[in-house]
Each structure stands twice: as structure tokens, then as C-alpha cells.
């Protein structure tokens, strides 16, 4: 009886731990895509920032332009972000196949454990969670290999 209890607790903990690790890996695969999206968002943010700056300049009847530090606010450089994103994509050329492989193996092990477990508690939820993680992985991999590389 004690062994059965311990086995059940072990399997449950293993499922929960692997689920979390699986999600971490799935989220890690989407980072290169997110970095590109972030640059896009940064561009939009910069445009809004410049609009606000122009509005303030107009409201001050262009007198603020006489101030050098205010003029310096107009220079915005997003090249640093672009370089960082490019570096991340380069690193992921090696890391992506490893992450995809790891996530696939862990998902397969998880599905095996979940389906073999006769306890119905959390079964459906865990299967949905694994499926979503795999879906995220597929989307990340597709976007990476088609759009970014």
C-alpha cells in the first residue's frame, strides 16, 4: 500500500514537473520571433514618442529647440535592438533543433504518462496543456525557419 502511494505521488510529481519544463522550452523557442515583434513595437513606440515631442515643440512655439538637450531627445537609435535580435537569431540556429527535439521528447513522455495514469483528476487539463505547448512549438519553429532564417 505504501509503495502504491509512493508510486502514485512520484508519477504525479513527474507529470507536473515535466509539464512545467515543457512549457519553459516551448516559450524559449518563441523568443527569436518575439524579439522581432518587439522591434516592430519599438518602432511604433518611437513614432509615438516623436509625435509627442513634435507636439510639445509646437506648443512651445519652437522655442524649446534652442535648448541643446531638448534637441538631443530627437535622436533615437534602434540599431542596438536590431543587433541584439540578429545575435539572438544566430544563436538560435544551433539552439532551435535542440529545443525542438527536447520539447518533442518531453511531450511524448508526458502523453504516455498521462494516458497510462488511471486517475482521472487533471487528465484532460494536462493533455490540453501538452497539446498547447506542442502547438506553440510548431508555430515558433515554422515562423523561425520560414521568416527569420
Amino acid at each position: 500500500m505504501k509503495n502504491t502511494l509512493q508510486q502514485m505521488q512520484f508519477k504525479d510529481r513527474l507529470c507536473r514537473t515535466l509539464l512545467r519544463v515543457n512549457w519553459v522550452i516551448a516559450i524559449a523557442t518563441i523568443l527569436p520571433v518575439l524579439s522581432r515583434i518587439f522591434i516592430g513595437v519599438a518602432f511604433i513606440g518611437t513614432a509615438l514618442y516623436l509625435l509627442v515631442l513634435i507636439a510639445i515643440t509646437i506648443m512651445s512655439f519652437f522655442l524649446l529647440l534652442l535648448n541643446e538637450s531638448f534637441r538631443a531627445l530627437y535622436s533615437v537609435d534602434l540599431n542596438g535592438l536590431q543587433e541584439l535580435s540578429d545575435q539572438l537569431i544566430t544563436v538560435y540556429q544551433t539552439a532551435m533543433p535542440v529545443l525542438i527535439g527536447a520539447c518533442t521528447i518531453i511531450s511524448a513522455v508526458l502523453l504516455f504518462l498521462i494516458l497510462r495514469n488511471r486517475d482521472p483528476a487533471h487528465k484532460a487539463g494536462r493533455i490540453v496543456s501538452v497539446s498547447l505547448a506542442v502547438l506553440l512549438l510548431l508555430i515558433a519553429a515554422l515562423l523561425y525557419y520560414i521568416k527569420l532564417v
Binding site: R13, L14, T17
Partner: protein, 164 residues
Amino acid sequence: MKIFVINRADVLFFSNGKKLNVQKENGREFIDAPLSPDGTVVLRAIRRPELSHRNWWLYAAFFWIIGILGLFTPGYSRFDYALDCSITLGGRQMQEVWIRFNHFVNKKTGIPVPAVTVSEWTIARIDNAAYILDKISRRRRRIYKLVSWLIRIAVIVAVCLIVL
């Protein structure tokens, strides 16, 4: 005999030393308990904290490693109470039978609160229905937490030293 179970959490059911599988019907959990020769149903409901087992440190270390420094390992339950109760039900019940679990302990007054109750008008006898504090499990959980953090800090310091 079909017995519905409410608020079971991590309690397991045994009958004659065999584990009973919990099934689901319309969102409700139930167990199909076998009748003993005298027409009664004898169940044993057991709940033990994970860290109460003998080789707890081995399992904890294993999950700490696969959970990447224990950061993605689910925390051990803070409910350090064990339950080992015996429920004897009459074989002929006039209505639907359910067993409800209560995961509450009255720490202020110390008056034992029944952990297991059955549906009204159910012919049943429950022995050892109260939770018992597992001090060993509580101590091990605290040790695990302390050692876990110490090793994490040591790893971070080691990595910083290597990198720098």
C-alpha cells in the same frame, strides 16, 4: 457499490489491500467499491505527505535536478497532515452514497475536525477520521527548502566566478 467522492484531492482508496481506481461521471468522481462476503463495503482512505516516505531525499534530489535547480518543480504541499481512516458502509443503502473530504485542521483550539464525512442517512462507521500532524514531513520540507536555496545560491556564485 458506487460511492461518489467529493473534494478528494490526493487521498487514495484501498479495499482489501488493493487500490481502487477513481473514475469520473458527469464531472463527479466516484469509486466502484467491491462488496465483502458479509455484504458490507470496507474502504481505507489514505493520505500521506510526499516527504514522509523513506527515500524522500533521493526523490527530492531527482526532481530538483530535472526541474532545473528546483525552479520548475512543483512545491511540496504545506498541508503536513496524514490520514489513514477506515470507512465501513452497509451494503444496502437507501440513496446515493458520497464521501466528502475536508482538508482543514483546527490549529487554534486543537479540537480534531473530522476529515471524512458521509452523506446523511448513510449507514456507515468511520474510524480515525481526523488528520494527524506529520512532524517528520514538515521538518523535511523545511530542510528541502533551505538546502534547495543554499545550493541555488552556490550554483549562481560558481557560475559567476567561472564566467568572470
